[in-house]
Symmetry: C2
Subunit: 265 residues, 2 copies
């Protein structure tokens, strides 16, 4: 289970402030804390800083890779930004967050994925209707798999995020994503799935409870990567406990190790 740590995101106010103020210690602390908590990849996003995204992302990547050896997940919808950042990234393989089926983005990012041998997150999102059923998500996943294969990228480097829509807009939304996770992994052997968790709880109270409960449900259906905050000990505990319940933790050793390291509540 690949943990992609989400905290260094400019949509969070404190991160945006630190990026604008070049507060190197703050960003580095965020990176180190996430790795210490169990992150395999550290996502870095400066997309909310209009007009300064490339500059601030370069600065943040430089700061982060000075203190951690974990690989980074370069988080930008902009192919130009990704192209400018990739040559300076030290630890391989990088992950790119993300492509969708939007042609302009897809056609410019896929060659970079192929050239640099990166991993890439693919969103089940097109320019047409919202994919809010399992069928629609699986269909878009199939198109992502085709595009990636056509670009000469191994399917193992593709992490498909079926997306989840808020439960408040339809109580079948989580089930659609869960079904899609299982079907995508069965129909496209070798492909990975991932999921941003937080959208599911939009508009509801006690969002962290819903998000971690959703993570458990996803893990039980085969999800093998998640975009999450590993420093949230309740969330990390839900991850480790669900992996164990799903029979994906031999001799319960990962769970016991995480407990001993004080990583979960």
């Amino acid at each position: 289970m690949l943990v992609i740590a989400e905290r260094i995101n400019s949509s969070r106010e404190k991160i945006a402030e630190a990026m604008l103020a070049s507060d190197r210690a703050f960003i580095q602390q965020e990176a180190m804390a996430q790795v210490a908590a169990g992150a395999h990849y550290v996502d870095v996003n400066a997309g909310a800083l209009e007009g300064r995204e490339t500059d601030r992302l370069k600065w943040a990547v430089d700061a982060v890779q000075e203190v951690i050896d974990a690989p980074l997940c370069i988080d930008s919808p902009d192919p130009h930004v990704i192209r400018d950042i990739l040559p300076m990234v030290r630890v391989q393989p990088v992950m790119i967050n993300s492509i969708s089926l939007e042609p302009a983005r897809l056609e410019r990012i896929l060659p970079l994925v192929a050239e640099y041998g990166t991993k890439v997150i693919g969103l089940c999102q097109s320019e047409d209707a919202m994919a809010d059923t399992a069928d629609a998500k699986v269909e878009l996943a199939g198109r992502l798999v085709e595009k990636v294969a056509a670009a000469g990228i191994p399917i193992e480097n593709l992490y498909i995020d079926p997306l989840v829509y808020p439960l408040g807009t339809g109580t079948a939304s989580a089930l659609a994503t869960l079904d899609a996770i299982e079907r995508i992994m069965r129909e496209y052997p070798g492909v990975h799935t991932t999921c941003g968790l937080t959208n599911v709880s939009y508009g509801l109270p006690n969002r962290r409870l819903i998000n971690r409960t959703f993570l458990v449900a996803c893990v039980m259906r085969g999800l093998d990567s998640a975009i999450m905050d590993p420093t949230d000990k309740h969330l990390y505990g839900a991850l480790k406990a669900s992996m164990m319940l799903a029979g994906r933790d031999d001799f319960c050793m990962e769970y016991i190790r995480a407990f001993r390291a004080g990583r979960m509540e």
Copy 2:
């Protein structure tokens, strides 16, 4: 989702002490707190008080039904005890916890279930080998369904507990129970499933985390009743969030109501 509240159990030291000391206020407080927290049935067990089970169970049932209107779950493996208690129980329908395929117990308890029109928990347990695979659990469930039907008891009154064995003794144990829950409910329409959660975590650290994560996994597979402590706000939160994620909470109203009532964390 039927919540069977488990706290009034003589295997808990404070309960045993209160039962032996006839501490009516303590037992009544336990009953009221569980109903306030969301219990639909209140389990009452005096089985650990050797030689005094019938006497203390009568006392406890009398104490409890003085302060709550929720129905009780009479928890004893002993047919004589159940026979002595049933006439004094006020709120219908009572639930009996439990039968298994052990003939002596089965043949003496089923007539009482039929006569009093009670609900009954049936354990997937025989005198033969331990049912630790989904196939074995489903096979035993089928035999329970047959026995209950032969006694003229409606299948809707049967709550099958497939049992779960400790993860520490085999990492496939939770999966076997989860598969069994789904298959039992599909193969025997109208039957209910229930589950005691705590056995799954035996011998592992942070048991409450494992138990509530297991509850989420069970709910996602269709479990429609659980033997649990509703006053554990993390556990109750996991229940309500998973019901919502499973599409079993129209307009998220049950979740929102539980949040407003301060029942979950």
